[in-house]
């Protein structure tokens, strides 16, 4: 049977950073359903936050101020000790990535350039033009190549094997060879990214199904704060490709059909650089109240960069210019970009602590699939890339401590073999009988989520979403995949993932229904105020004996920052 000391699932920033930190001392296997370079991290544009104080306007920036901005941005739902660890580590992380070759953009004094981002008191977002994720992921991949990390590209993890409160490994589907393979490991880290594609309108890569979160949840791992879903204010209409916050950081305006810079009415000081939850609600309100523009692809608002001029656009936002031209035929030098808010980031995820540990012995989570929580109810732009690398690194410290501790039982082959048989049976069922097409199930699920569990939420809509999801789950029992061949069968992989997307969606909608307050990205029209007395707590969902989510709550860790009203 395949064996590794440590098994890492996910080849994005979090997974690669953990692998780099572990591979010299342990036998590490890194599994990813796509080649690591194709991971969603590659698409990050705007930058990564660290209080380097390089910008002439930020000489007195400190990691404590970064922590405060993050906690305030989180609407006080973040665990403050975790935020402090992340922000304190941030400069080290950025320098380390730079030393490993990351080509950051530079200031005239030859230091790393930093730009303003939403919700931040100082310009502290380090970047490489508008391809920051691309340069970070390439740098970390280069590092894993230099260290000879064993990578299994195009291996999809379908199950997590947990018995007696301990993780014994995973069951993987080797897509190229069409084999179901159990892999035994002493420790397993999930770094499987976000669940954007549970929504119809999403900036995320097509592969961001959240299956890692769903696999863990189904195997009995608790997941946290699923109702907190970030909607990015500026996604291109039609394809919903992201137009980075750096467009506004560099000075872009949001304009309605009356020609107004309408953010003035909502957040007169921060304007376009208010945090994402607030800007998205403002845009949606403009559209709902008839001040948007019409287009066959949907209603929209203009993101206007024209006043920045061709030189600045070409120098700072070349990727945005190219995407606009390639995907909607608009050159932002001459015309405004039509945008709408879209699902963007998963604040919730696998319930982890500052050591990336979960409730299960030997099972860890890091990056977007995990919820420590450093982002609370709303993530600040530039904090997610940071989160992935910081916690990827921290996992590489805490996993060895676990492996060196006394009294560990060795992972058991028999559990894995049993699970493998179950998966094979499941696949047999999916490929033999049934009448439902997988894509139509996914389409209906994602449309329900965008329509009923979106930027503005109400009890009625959320209840409807839960009823719909229950119906879609019933239909899933009759789903059928066209071909019984396993190799290169993407339809089969998508269908296996769909099972987990349904669970992820279910916990999001349920969490949103239960949380009768508005906080950060979770806005209830019927409960428009934040309610610290009753709701300053994390939502925990774990799968119950009946297969349905059982909800409990967990304290928020407060260190130095008492919850205040959130004003910008």
């Amino acid at each position: 049977m395949h064996y590794h000391d440590i098994l890492i699932v996910g080849g994005g920033l979090a997974g690669l950073r953990a692998a780099v930190g572990l591979c010299e001392r342990y036998d590490v296997g890194l599994f990813s359903k796509v080649h690591p370079i194709r991971s969603h991290s590659i698409a990050a544009q705007g930058g990564i936050n660290a209080a380097l104080a390089n910008n002439p306007n930020s000489r007195d920036d400190t990691w404590e101020k970064h922590a405060f901005d993050t906690i305030k941005g989180s609407d006080y739902l973040a665990d403050q000790h975790a935020v402090e660890i992340m922000c304190k580590e941030a400069p080290n992380i950025v320098y380390e990535m730079e030393h490993w070759g990351c080509p950051f953009s530079r200031f005239p004094d030859r230091s790393i350039a930093q730009r303003p981002f939403g919700g931040a008191g100082y310009p502290r977002t380090c970047y490489s033009t508008d391809i920051t994720g691309h340069v970070l992921l390439n740098t970390l991949y280069e590092r894993t190549v230099s260290k000879g990390v064993k990578v299994y590209p195009e291996w999809f993890v379908v199950d997590l094997v947990i018995e007696n409160g301990q993780c014994h490994g995973v069951i993987a589907f080797d897509l190229i060879n069409g084999k179901i393979i159990p892999i035994r490991a002493r420790a397993t880290l999930f770094a499987t990214g976000g669940y954007g594609r549970v929504y119809f309108y999403s900036t995320n890569a097509l592969i961001n199904t959240g299956s890692g979160i769903g696999v863990a949840y189904k195997a009995g791992v608790p997941i946290k704060d699923m109702e907190f879903v970030q909607f990015h204010p500026t996604a291109l209409i039609g394809t919903n490709i992201l137009m980075t916050e750096a467009c506004r950081g560099e000075g872009g305006y949001l304009i309605n059909n009356k020609g107004e810079r309408f953010m003035e009415r909502y957040v007169p000081i921060a304007m376009e650089l208010a945090p994402r939850d607030i800007v998205s609600r403002s845009i949606q309100t403009e559209i709902d109240e008839g001040r948007g523009f019409d287009h066959p692809l949907g209603k929209y608002i203009n993101l206007d960069l024209r006043h920045l001029g061709e030189n600045k656009i070409q120098e700072k936002l070349p990727g945005i210019r190219k995407i606009s031209i390639d995907f909607i035929g608009i050159d932002p030098v001459h015309d405004p970009i039509p945008i709408m808010p879209s699902q963007h980031y998963s604040m919730g995820g696998i319930d982890t602590n500052i050591r990336c540990e979960t409730e299960i012995k030997g099972f860890y989570g890091a990056g977007e699939c995990a919820c420590v929580s450093v982002h609370g109810a709303n993530r600040l732009g530039g904090n997610s890339l940071l989160d992935t690398i910081v916690f990827g690194k921290l996992a590489s410290f805490s996993i060895p401590e676990y492996l060196e501790s006394d009294g560990l039982t060795t992972p058991d082959e028999s559990f894995l073999l049993r699970k493998k048989e179950e998966i094979e049976k499941k696949i047999k069922r999916l490929t033999s009988e049934g009448s439902e097409r997988p894509f139509s199930i996914q389409m209906d699920l994602s449309r329900t989520m965008s329509a009923c569990v979106g930027i503005f939420r109400t009890k009625d809509e959320l209840e409807k979403a839960l009823v719909d999801i229950a119906g879609i789950k019933e239909r899933y029992k009759r789903v059928k995949v066209s071909s019984p061949k396993l190799h290169m069968n993407y339809e089969l992989m998508n269908t296996l993932e769909l099972e987990f997307m349904l669970e992820v969606a279910h916990t999001i909608a349920l969490g949103a229904l239960l949380r009768e307050e508005s906080r950060g990205a979770h806005f209830r029209r019927d409960f428009p105020a934040r309610n610290d007395a009753e709701w300053l707590k994390h939502t925990i969902a774990r799968i119950g004996a009946d297969g349905k989510p059982a909800i409990s709550f967990k304290e928020v860790v407060i260190t130095n920052y008492q919850p205040m009203e959130r004003k910008y």
Partner: protein
């Protein structure tokens, strides 16, 4: 009024697990709204018509490099190619040349990655790292810009005429990556480490037909890197230097 046009997609099908079957085309008729990309149509075909079709995709925004293929005779990313851009009702899709096919539009990129790894694609330093960042000027950063932009989609590899006749050739992507480090003011690798490319499998094998430049969806010019590396090799032969000792 936006009108959907009907297109015929002609897609090469092959399965390496059934080598006795020869590659052949499947035909799909599909109605397409203007503005739709080839990738969007491929997804619809797989979802609604033929679940057995295999192709790679991920970001759908021309940054991850998954979906390079031959579209009506030209190599490009399926995700950034508009169906309507050809002015033709038939769209022919084939896998990237110069690779073994795994299935349909999916090719085996192993040789591509092997060559990538051969040039040691990482920042090579001799001095100890400073406490903060290694200083670099804006101009020095700009110098590597085009090569930094490479998304490793293998379009150039598929387009390369040298690789078509000599599979041992390292490929344009490897040189572009190597030059990205050679031009980086922070990199301290020795010229001696360039021996790997100082031969016909390396930079001297290039015909300079510039097909790689035409094929690149990110405006990278691998030929610039080949010319740059050749110059460095010649200069080194004549004058020595650049961290000779190694």
């Amino acid at each position: 009024m936006i009108i959907a046009n009907t297109y015929t997609f002609k897609i090469l099908r092959y399965d390496a697990k059934e080598p006795e079957e020869t590659p052949s085309f499947s035909f799909y008729q599909i109605k397409v709204l203007p503005g739709l990309t080839v990738l969007a149509v491929l997804m619809r075909i797989r979802d609604e018509i033929d679940g057995t079709l295999s192709f790679r995709s991920s970001c759908r925004s021309a940054v991850c490099g998954s979906c390079a293929m031959v579209i009506n005779g030209k190599i490009d990313l399926a995700c950034r190619t508009q169906v309507a851009s050809f002015g033709d009702e038939t769209i022919i899709l084939e896998p990237l040349p110069n690779f073994e096919i795994i299935k349909d539009l999916v090719v085996d990129l192993t040789p591509f990655w092997t060559m990538y790894e051969k040039i040691k694609p990482w920042l090579s330093r001799k001095q100890p790292d400073p406490e903060k960042e290694i200083p670099q000027s804006e101009e020095e950063r700009d110098r590597i810009d085009q090569f930094v932009n490479c998304i490793l989609c293998a379009s150039c590899y598929g387009a390369c005429p040298v690789l078509a006749r000599n599979p041992d050739y390292m490929g344009p992507h490897a040189f572009a990556k190597l030059e990205r480090f050679m031009l980086d003011s922070r990199d301290e690798r020795s010229m001696r480490s360039l021996e790997e490319i100082n031969n016909e499998r390396g930079v001297w094998g290039c015909d300079t037909l510039l097909r790689c430049i035409d094929a690149c969806p990110k405006d990278v010019r691998p030929t610039d890197s080949i010319v740059g590396l050749r110059k460095k090799l010649l200069k080194y032969k004549l004058f020595g230097k650049r961290n000779d000792e190694d």
